[in-house]
Symmetry: C2
Subunit: 338 residues, 2 copies
């Protein structure tokens, strides 16, 4: 059996849990290799099993490394678990309330992050896939020739996705952001059908063999924009340099945040410094003021400080770091594109 | 205040609930016009409010029809609610367990589908947007010239998305399915980097002003494929014709399912007959054997019977119906494309 499952079983044993229910699609994919398209109940126990929908049976059987059963009803599934002697059930923190309700009368239940703890630490193979995704995304970005681009934000976003797919990506890893001018002060701006204004902020990534990439670059043109860009670049560089196994995530956030605060823009850095990524574009832990998770080798976390001047413009610079003793940045795209 | 909020407040009053917590992005969008990009807690009460992240404040203030507050912490939010005299809290069935846990010590909690009940019945404006989305998607499909297409499945899927965006869509409403040959027996197949085999199954849709469309067409070539296509078409047509306000959803499913069963393929129709759509691609109710919701005017539900012959091929035909006394199909794309 996969060592991830063994590790989870060990964690469960310490807490005296018999079974662990996973329903999140990427959690099921992580455990089995099969990504549900409708719904699935993956139950980790000594003999793990996935109950899935009739419509997914062929897909699941072709892809899952663990046993697949066809879901019939909650009653059938719950009875089978009880017949095996299962008395308590660990659940994912993200489990929908309505699913929790279906199990709570039959099992003692508590939410546990065993799966998140496994997914936090990427294997070399996972880091390789994230690296491939990042390389594809960065090569595609350079194909845009952004500095001489007469297309609209929406068209450029679309071209970028096309290049990523042509270069081997499965798809974009989130809605590609191409924004410019005053809209760039919205961290999650939506591309519009208008030609590029300035500055230009592009936040993009792709999925390669299930794994995500994430980068942001901002191209600036005025003295004021350059001043803000320099501060964000300093924050970005210092945070990346600071990352070491053994630190707390919030300490990395503080390095990035302090630079921006020292220049007087502390209240205009309106989000966390970074998030983990993998099968999902947002995973735990994150470089956030409230996250005291210890940084470990194998974590893959973004560093993306930004300054957002409402009504004027925003600047964000983002790279993804695979934590090692050296704190390696993934990809080789320069910060400064001009 | 919006009549949807008034209706929900009326429903809450009947159950003696003071407040209703919504966190699903499209639920928040439905209520306020603001679609969160990070997280948000929308609380429906006499004076409704949305607590949102610092990074979404500008977007939220620009788009929300109800009051916006910046989220600081669970403690602050919960204390503010308690100070207003709120003692119990209705929640969405989809609320993550970990969020439920944050509220359960301070409020009496139960999950309620007030919001789903509102979203089930589309206004004329919502139906208009779904119709526009469907028209864009269908026009784009015809641009593909699928019968003379030398591209790969993946390229065709990409072209279709490009046409939809060029024709005014925001984006695709789900991962576009272009599949062919034996892969078509997977209801949720992923397009591959291979030229079209036969039959060809395309399941696609787009989003226009937030609202989704959904259609499927299958192009068949052999006698056996045509035989299966004819059965699915009969099932599709009879189910659509049967839809009338006052029926149960499961009765519509039965009409579609009985046709396929009568030809001996009952066990190869491996999913429900249809699902509602709107701001989300999958909404309630659905034409499923287990859904006894009464069909009402204003519901917008797909009809998509299919027959899947594992290892051979699959056929699915899908249209979207806006329920009225006449049971109107949205869009005018013929079932038979050849």
């Amino acid at each position: 059996m996969d060592f991830h499952i063994d590790n989870i079983l060990n964690d469960m044993q310490k807490d005296d849990f018999n079974a662990y229910l996973l329903t999140g699609f990427t959690n099921v994919e992580y455990i089995s290799g099969y990504k549900p398209t409708s719904f699935a109940f993956c139950i980790i126990k000594d003999n793990p099993v996935i109950y899935t929908s009739k419509m997914d049976m062929e897909l699941a059987k072709n892809n899952s490394s663990i046993e697949i059963k066809e879901y019939e009803s909650y009653d059938v599934m719950i009875n089978e678990l009880k017949e095996e002697g299962i008395k308590n059930l660990a659940i994912e923190p993200t489990l929908p309330f309505s699913t929790f309700v279906r199990f709570r009368d039959d099992f003692e239940i508590d939410s546990k992050t065993y799966i998140d703890k496994q997914r936090m630490i990427k294997t070399p193979d996972e880091i390789e896939k994230i690296t491939r995704a990042t390389e594809i995304a960065q090569r595609s970005f350079l194909q845009l020739d952004i500095l001489n681009n007469e297309n609209t934000e929406k068209e450029i976003a679309f071209d970028l996705v096309r290049y990523m797919i042509e270069n081997g990506a499965d798809k974009e890893s989130f809605d590609t952001i191409v924004t410019s001018g005053s809209n760039s002060s919205l961290p999650h701006a939506i591309p519009e059908a208008k030609k590029l204004d300035r500055p230009i902020l592009i936040d993009w990534g792709c999925i390669f063999e299930g794994y995500c990439s994430d980068n942001t670059r901002t191209m600036v043109y005025t003295e004021k924009q350059q001043e803000i860009w320099d501060i964000v670049a300093e924050s970005h560089d210092k945070a990346i340099k600071a990352i070491k196994p053994g630190m707390k995530c919030c300490e990395v956030d503080k390095v990035a945040r302090d630079v921006i605060a020292d220049y007087g823009y502390g209240d205009r850095f309106i989000h966390s410094t970074g998030h983990s990524l993998g099968l999902d574009i947002h995973e735990t832990p994150g470089f956030s003021p409230r996250d005291d998770t210890i940084v470990e080798k194998g974590m893959v976390i973004t560093v993306e400080p930004g300054i957002y001047l409402e009504g004027e413009f925003g600047v964000r610079l983002e790279d993804t770091v695979a934590v090692s003793k050296k704190g390696n940045v993934i990809g080789e795209l320069p910060l400064n594109i001009v």
